[in-house]
Amino acid sequence: MSTEQMTCKERVQAAVKYEDIDRLPVFKGYFSPARLVDRKMNYSFFTDAEAIAEACWQAWKYFDDDGIHLLDGGFMEEEFGADSIWPENNYPMINHILVTDHEAADALKEPDPYKDSVFTAILKATEILRKKAGDEVMVCGFINGTFNYAARLMGTENMMNYLATDPELVHKVCRKVADAQVRYAKAYGEAGIELIFMPDATSAPACISPKTYGKMALPYLKEAVKGFQDAGALAMYHPCGGEYPIIDQIGQTKADIYYFSELVELDVAQKIFVDRAAVAGTVNGSRELFLGTPEIVDEHVKGIIDRLKYRTGAIIMPGCGLSPNCKYENVKAMVDATKEYGKN
């Protein structure tokens, strides 16, 4: 088939349900498109709804993939009460660790999605993009995972320590984070978001054990996923980092899409989740996309697609977030390769 028969949106929706599709969908993945509109990643950009919308739109046009992807999902840490640092060309960070004891955990503020300086811009950008995109393509949002947020509030190293010495403190913070995630998702839903991406590296086996994951993280991740779905969005969960040891548990989150790093074979994941959830990812963001060439990327993507048993139920994308200085020609090569080798 030389011409494509489905819209981007139809293709993703059908792939998630393992229905017939004209070709496999592809997502450019997560990296800031600020560069595309000649902007720096600074406070003025992150709070400028028009600029965000324009950058995301341009990125979709430029890479010609199957989704419009909003960047980072607001600045919930600041809403919790943290003071922030805004680098001249990078994502904002928090200046001080907010929670070191139960008292501080009790004192955390309740994040309000409609007051979050970054998220209000993202909500407005979502509305702008929804109008532009119509039924052609999904607008995809971003809300960090429960453990990722908790780690930022407590300090990762401290949090790992508390997991062993004071798990109740971690529970207390996660409880508040999960509630906030659901509130953010609801606001996203009202703005018309159709998919929410949730990365959670801090609860993956690169950091904690499968047992701790089941006890400490999974209950909250389930709530977050349900919140996304109740808001009318597909939930795409990314358990980032050495995922195999928890691959049996992540299914309990009931996410619509499981998005894996290059450490998982996409074909194996697909066989595990067939007819239950779509699988995504696994294009190596460092070895191929960052250090490689378009030819190397083409070969790599072809291999991933050739090994798939079902030519639906999978979305090709980088195995993890890409750096803002990634090579655009390599990302483009990944999209083109999917269009070529993913045809049905």
Binding site: M160, S286, L291
Partner: protein, 221 residues
């Protein structure tokens, strides 16, 4: 420890190792103090006791039997033990070498680096920690300041920051220091190919492997 019962050297080493492996901060203090009281050589207590425990922790982490919470608690226990034994070290012990280590500029990820440092120290290396977000000139200046550094070790966790390693290699070349040191790199996005590309000498995927590579680079087993 009960009463005045004398403990054998082996029993104390076992306790030290156990304390680190279990992250037991009471036991590590007790055992380290016992070692001193019994007049056991502090170097030996560190190597046969604390470091042996930390090596086992490293192996468990490599095999995914231990995860970050366990490793971080063990590392703290290890440091507690060192604090007690260090003042009793004899000054002229042979170390395999001096490592200058830091997380490269614009990168604040230091958990992995700290684990590598603990493992290197546990193997007898003298490690100078430059911290995180370290600019190339800081590596250069430190080498000039201390005179002799055997290995420059760098960590980077982001594809955005890993090019900072190349800047350090270039800075060392410019200052005529490149041939005087070995360069070792690591961190999640780093690979053997990248290591070769930037002209570094060694790469390791984890801390246990890192110790092996460091030993190879300085020519000891």
């Amino acid at each position: 420890m009960k009463g005045d019962m004398k403990m054998s050297k082996e029993a104390i080493f076992k306790q030290l190792s156990h304390a680190v492996f279990d992250g037991d901060d009471d036991l590590v203090v007790e055992a380290a103090e016992a070692a001193i009281k019994e007049g056991i050589d502090a170097t030996e207590a560190i190597i046969e006791g604390l470091a042996a425990g930390m090596t086992k922790v490293g192996e468990y982490y490599e095999k995914q039997k231990y995860f970050l919470p366990e490793v971080i608690i063990s590392a703290e226990t290890f440091k507690q033990g060192i604090k007690i034994l260090e003042p009793h070290l004899s000054k002229d012990i042979a170390s395999p070498g001096t490592v200058l280590m830091g997380t490269v500029i614009s990168d604040v990820h230091d958990i992995g680096k700290n684990i590598v440092i603990i493992m290197l120290s546990a193997s007898g290396f003298k490690v100078i920690d430059l911290g995180k977000d370290v600019p190339p000139e800081a590596f250069v200046n430190k080498i000039k300041e201390v005179g002799k550094v055997d290995i420059v070790a760098m960590s980077a966790l982001m594809t955005t920051s890993m090019m900072g390693m190349q800047d350090v290699v270039e800075a060392l070349k410019k200052e005529g220091l490149r041939d005087k040191v070995k360069i070792m790199v690591g961190g999640a996005p780093v690979s053997q190919r990248f290591t070769d590309d930037i002209g570094a000498d060694g790469y390791a995927g984890d801390a246990v492997e890192g110790v092996r590579v460091a030993k190879r680079l300085v020519g000891v087993q």
